[in-house]
Symmetry: C2
Subunit: 470 residues, 2 copies
């Protein structure tokens, strides 16, 4: 017992944590300046709450991450891990009094094993960089979220990010063989494997993927790679309604062809991109479907023709295999740029519902109905082949009434997806924005299992508290 | 407090559990006859310990499984789930005083959704039956363990079973979208999803796959299906040494071709099968590699030729594309029948090590060295394209000294695999036989994480205690 048994003043607490972090880190890795701290205090989720953290750290090694977590354990300070901050659910948003651990300085591709087709990378490696380095060796890292030019592998792992090619090649988790993590008790461990198969013990790797920093801080990722694939062919279809496009998607799936991309963009997305980037896009169609196929040689030609025929049979006003690679690239660029293009018009609340394919036309009709009823501008973007829809709720800047209407519409779209057997988040994660959705979607006994697992692996409750499940 | 505070006599305890189970189950679902109970008390793992359970139950519905687990919870009785009993690690072996829950009566394919390409099945469905039912709809369930004609999907899920086509198409876990399970607290819940993507909450489905009945009893499985694939082509290579065959495997991988099967059998396997089944196999070669490729059309021809060229360049004494489908089938039958054929010669202890591909030739050399040093007959069978080797240690019936030598060799092969960066179990599971191997392979802090997760989901310790990790 000491004489001063009253709680320490907040300033003293902050000073002590700063000193302990400073002692654990190399010069420059502790960031406490107000402007910098603000910059690291949230991701790109619109209207998700955040507060200023007590500090930001930019460790350069796994051991430094471990030292930071141990300081936080000792001082009872929450740890908020962060990649590039491109998340759309608030998973990286800071809590008051927390320490944000930015992994961006740990950005090395450590090893590539061409024979076994895997790479070992630090979490701050940007997705597109890994893809480029793999390509130099004739290999391919498939997961391709729209944020690929900026988002990091660590962030992709934290959210189990999807992308365009998942319809054929799966999501981030399908490519994570193993992880090095700092645990909630401050241990630095490796889970998973580097062999093609392995079933020793529980699959903690899969448990950690998509856990949004609540079960461990990822300090290294071993990713599976594939051989480089044949060139893709593109098929474009124009439709005069969302529902007709939804039916074309079902027809493609029924045909037995698995496209390597099957994306939907509506006119609002196309116009927003064209107004911004002048890509010379045709913006006449109400909805465009963009498909790609990548079977080799003549089989690829047959797949492309099958997709075109499906589009035509479902009532496309125009459907053709793209002979013009530049045009095809422009259309896929429009897909990637739609989100930032719409953000130029005002805050964008991003849905990420995923429904069974048979429910895609119904779900698209519900979105239109919700938009009309709440008088909310909703642009539609979708990984249509996966049933993963991104209705984008655009509100005029500063219009508080519109914001409230958009938030009501957002919740209603969640409810509609759940009612159709779907989920509130296909690939963006729960973070803060989908916490209510998680509870609505999930049996209470399963939520209790989440809590039990979380308590087991983070017994002191310091890993990204308040996110995913509370 | 009652007057009789001393522990109940064992007979009374057994009677009470029998009565409670009987009340919870339909007529005939409780099995207590000595011969039947013995039959259900172990799997096919050689020399793994087992004891007689207190009872065997054969429930017909998930609710009956739940009722059984609740009875066991109330009476503090361990629950040992069981599929077809084809396991090779002792995961389904009974403990004294346990209740074996055989899921074999729950054998219905409940639904198939061709558009979304998934099926919902009960755990007792035999793998080959699911494959046949899917094929009727132009769909394909890829995981194909050698036990496919007998083993159940529930058992495949419990062990995360592999097979021949995993080298291209992945293992059981890659096809499990969702599960219904009875938890360690007696809840009946669904985890996972029926959508193509979904990241709401932690991936409990992946955690449960491969958990060998220690985290929940699986009562329903939702499996992903693929479209039926093009016909496969077969390439056969004969080699005069294990090491030369190992080099051919590396050459195939380096070529960029991903075969749909790449299996290795040595002369001992071929002779054992041919002596038994008279398939007319050529048994001259020291080692045979069996490859299949399944790219469509001309691309398939190119793949087959590339594999043949790799075999030839690595020093095959003979390498050819099989023009004779009957011969190709006979060779793959030999692959499937090797294990039972060798069992005719005496007890077979089955290894399941998996090493990085670059270590395959070294690992095969180590196996030969261990066999010679311990004077143990070891036949070699391998999913060579995955680096997943099944050295089969055959001992003369009743030869106790040979048994002890085989067990010493078994442990040494584990150690060699770990030293080469591999794992003690690629696809058979830990069960009882690889528990020591798990501890040898895994960092203590990770074993502690396994224990923490297990305690979280099975707080009363009734789910298959003593298996995987204790």
């Amino acid at each position: 017992m000491t004489l001063t048994s009253s709680p320490p003043a907040a300033a003293n607490h902050t000073d002590r944590v700063h000193r302990a972090l400073d002692a654990a880190l190399p010069t420059g890795a502790l960031v406490t300046g107000a402007a910098s701290v603000e910059r690291y205090s949230h991701d790109e989720a619109e209207w998700a709450p955040y507060a200023l953290p007590l500090a930001v750290v930019r460790p350069q090694t796994a051991e430094q991450v471990q030292a930071v977590v141990r300081v936080c354990l000792e001082h009872g300070v929450p740890v908020v891990p962060r990649g590039a901050g491109t998340g759309l659910s608030g998973g990286a948003n800071a809590l008051a009094g927390s320490v944000v651990v930015s992994l961006e300085a740990m950005d090395a591709v450590l090893e590539i094993y061409p024979l076994e087709r895997y790479a070992v990378v630090q979490p701050g490696v940007v997705n597109a960089h890994l893809r480029a380095v793999a390509a130099e060796q004739g290999l391919w890292y498939p997961p391709d979220p729209a944020s690929a030019p900026w988002s990091t592998i660590g962030g992709n792992v934290a959210t189990n990010a999807g992308g365009v090619c998942c319809v054929k090649y799966g999501v981030t988790g399908d490519y994570v063989l193993g992880l090095q993590v700092v645990t909630g008790t401050g241990e630095l461990v490796r889970v998973g494997r580097r062999t093609a198969k392995g079933v020793t013990g529980y699959d903690l790797t899969a448990l950690l993927v998509g856990s949004e920093g609540t079960l461990g801080v990822v300090t290294e990722v071993t990713v599976r790679l594939r051989p480089a694939r044949p060139a893709e062919q593109t098929v474009v279809g124009y439709f005069d309604s969302l529902v007709a496009a939804g039916e074309a998607v079902a027809a493609v799936t029924r045909s037995g062809v698995t496209p390597s991309a099957l994306e939907l963009l509506d006119q609002q997305c196309l116009r927003a991109v064209d107004d911004w980037k002048n890509l010379g896009l045709s913006t006449d169609a109400a909805v465009i479907l963009l498909a790609r196929v990548d079977a080799p040689g003549a089989a690829g030609d047959a797949e492309a023709e099958a997709v075109r025929a499906c589009f035509a049979a479902a009532g496309a006003t125009w459907a053709a295999r793209s002979e013009d690679e530049e045009e095809a690239e422009a259309l896929f660029s429009a897909r990637r740029l739609a989100y930032p293009a719409l953000e130029r018009l005002g805050p964008v609340l991003t849905e990420d519902v995923c429904v069974p394919l048979r429910a895609v036309p119904t779900m698209l009709a519900r979105v239109e109905e919700v938009a009309a009823r709440h008088d909310v501008r909703i642009a539609n973007l979708a990984h249509a082949g996966d049933g993963n829809l991104h209705p984008l709720l655009v509100t005029p800047p500063g219009d508080e009434a519109a914001r409230l209407r958009a938030q009501a519409a957002f919740e209603e779209i969640h409810a509609a997806a759940i009612a159709l057997g779907g989920t509130v988040t296909g690939e963006h994660g729960v973070g803060l924005l989908k916490r209510g959705g998680l509870e609505a979607e999930t049996e209470p006994a399963v939520v209790e299992m989440y809590r039990a697992v979380r308590r087991a692996l983070d017994p002191h409750g310091i890993l990204n508290p308040g996110k995913v499940v509370v």
